[in-house]
Symmetry: C2
Subunit: 95 residues, 2 copies
């Protein structure tokens, strides 16, 4: 029953991980072992958090990989739910 656009994980990542530690995108990308572009895309919501990236984040920041993926799931789901009416699907139960 969430009505508002959940923030993409990149936004959370920037606010909760990069900013508190005073990390630049360049430095964080190097530490995570990905390209600056890859991290930038995530931070700006142009790419999602892949399972592998979730594990990288968990290793670097001591957080839970699951939490990053769940955030991504929520975000993805919100976008699909908006067009759920366009999906022609027959119902089997729960009339």
């Amino acid at each position: 029953m969430k009505m508002h656009n959940p923030p993409h994980p990149g936004e959370v990542l920037r606010e909760l991980c990069l900013k508190p530690l005073g990390l630049t995108v360049t430095h964080a990308a190097r530490a995570l072992g990905v390209s600056r572009k890859t991290l930038s895309s995530i931070l700006n919501g142009r790419a999602g958090v892949s399972p592998e990236m979730a594990v990288r984040l968990s290793l670097a920041f001591g957080t839970s990989a699951e939490s990053w993926l769940n955030q991504q799931t929520q975000h993805d789901l919100w976008h699909v739910e908006r067009r759920r009416k366009k999906l022609r699907v027959a119902r089997f139960s729960a009339a």
Copy 2:
């Protein structure tokens, strides 16, 4: 701390949705609005449950789209965790 390979969502889908209703793959695919191949791939673990498919499943079977995606997340995560040692990532916190 899960040590065993979590079943792919397709396995669960077949056991908990198709079998109880006596649905054939062909019929279920038609009802879901996807090709028979698409559903078959998921059932046999050759494809994951995409966000859109999760919504289709929730519409058809009255289940939660989130639960399907979470199962998929767990499954994906399990595979990546197995190679987490190969990821060269610097740690910032939680020494």
